[in-house]
Symmetry: C2
Subunit: 376 residues, 2 copies
Amino acid sequence: MKLDERTAYAQVSAPARLAGPGEGISAEELALAARNHGMPQEALRYDVTPVGLHYLLTHYDIPAIDPAAWRLAVSGGVHRPLTLDLHSLRALPARTVRVTMECAGNGRARLDPRPVSQPWLVDAVGTADWTGAPLRDLLAVTGLAEDAVEIVFTGADHGVERGVEQDYQRSLPIAEALGRDVLLAYAMNGAPLPPQHGAPVRLIVPGWYGMAHVKWLKGITVTAEPFTGYQQQTAYNLRQQPDDPGEPVTRIRPRAMLIPPGFPDFLSRARIVHPGPVLLRGRAWSGGAPVKGVAVSTDGGTRWAPAILDDPDGHPWAWRGFSFAWRATPGEYLLAAHATDESGATQPTTQSWNRGGFANNAIHLTKTICVPEEKP
Amino acid sequence: MKLDERTAYAQVSAPARLAGPGEGISAEELALAARNHGMPQEALRYDVTPVGLHYLLTHYDIPAIDPAAWRLAVSGGVHRPLTLDLHSLRALPARTVRVTMECAGNGRARLDPRPVSQPWLVDAVGTADWTGAPLRDLLAVTGLAEDAVEIVFTGADHGVERGVEQDYQRSLPIAEALGRDVLLAYAMNGAPLPPQHGAPVRLIVPGWYGMAHVKWLKGITVTAEPFTGYQQQTAYNLRQQPDDPGEPVTRIRPRAMLIPPGFPDFLSRARIVHPGPVLLRGRAWSGGAPVKGVAVSTDGGTRWAPAILDDPDGHPWAWRGFSFAWRATPGEYLLAAHATDESGATQPTTQSWNRGGFANNAIHLTKTICVPEEKP
């Protein structure tokens, strides 16, 4: 059979759709869940998420890039276009920023109807120390054209998505791109980037959902017009209907998560604790403004009490620890935490629905039972 | 409400069951898929899987263990019981072994009916360089009782599974445990074990499915009777009916996997290649005997042709590379590979069914389309 590209892509690359009523997770969604992984919730215990526990989402394949052969082309509306190798990038002044990153699709699989895509529940988050050259230092070298409006970042990951063949590309408005902490990062937690996190160089945009942090960066193009590529205008927008113009997904909405107390059941992941004092600990973050307060509930959100925030640790883009002293007595509980940031943004009780399943930050409930220890 | 342990555990820890006809993946299975992750298939390109890409299965929580406080107790049928710290373990002669590890439940979610558990498709594999002290060197220090039959290994991971509260425990027959390459490993790929792979010390049993490689090791007990713990006698056995005595799951059955050629579609993971010569590469492994041959099919398994095995690389417990030259012409293909080992064991076309969904090694098909490149 002869195939042209459009016919062929239509066969393997279906349009975006919503799952039907009662439609279970498909084999395709499950295959994405096996490739891409969340952060096990007990890893909330680490200030910095160890490599291998940080959440991971790869649209296409993880590219194989030889660091010695890697080049970054800076082009478009710049006075001095240039092509940079890794040695030259590392020669620029280095900056390290601790960043909590969350996938824009976190929570998608809890929506009804469910957008058919990577089926995240609540685990698509992680915090890392990223080291690299501030983008603005590189742009100070190239200069920016007067009419520059956006910067387009191109990754080496290549594939087809909803029928569109593409390199992964995203843009930032100039003002965002010039932030002091926007990095061309070549190290994660003090070591060279692992392949899956964008080796040898990725973009870091603190406070933004993960889609902005372009991995396997190969090109930077300054443009005089807003970028209209697939990942910018088609994906990663909040829409109620397919033909809505869409509100772009940008900064991470506030969220608090508890470190699951006690120990789990293998399948249900329900938690078991024994009677007595239990120190509930957790982490809270927001990309829009610093976290102002966290509240905790043990009855599924009927009653709330304030948690104690950890002292600021000098990492404004990273999650903030909190504590809550609970006296457990035998029974069943639904533990929950919610965060509010200094802009007043907070977390809803139920998921806000949109066709892409983006930017959900509903309060998460952790089923917990408290049982007396049996004496042998 | 008052709860005793048994009542309570029954509420959060259901018995093993099979999914009903047409029953989709449950939220609980999906939560396990988000925590535990497979190896993205393109990572078959690496001889040694980078940390973070190796498959991972954690029954309960990843424990937090301070390496300085870690102790390993060796007890039971030994002449000189002892308790070892990390410094003492590292003082024993070190050995490094490259091992391909696969989860015994790999392929479970493809079964019909589907056992409700961690819903692996085909990605639960990885290869690492493990460094540690051979267990037999430690047992030479403690001595073994005359009546020693098995060695029980206890991990620090604690939870409830199918109503049974437990530390994760598995045993090995003495003869297996004394193998030269059975390690108490403290390093992975040349660095200290990451938390999720058993830090600070885990067991490595080359050739066996993953359940034998006890992580977060805290105890070694030599016994005069076969071990009857949950993970030995209840789980990890091949059974057609719940009351079958069960055949224990032990060594990894042969499997070959192709590195997916070309580039993927985001959701379907179908592959796209362009016409012309395509070098298909892959990896093959077996825990029972060395891989003897690999065959490749481009038509879903109707016709097979031999692949070329890479030269042996001195790593008998690791996967072996293979190559196959394919001339792609426009059309649709189902690419497949299958391995045969020197014992004559090979791969079935369809999954062999058992109630636990263990030890499946059916041939995997990779949907691939070849399309002409459009000239702009």
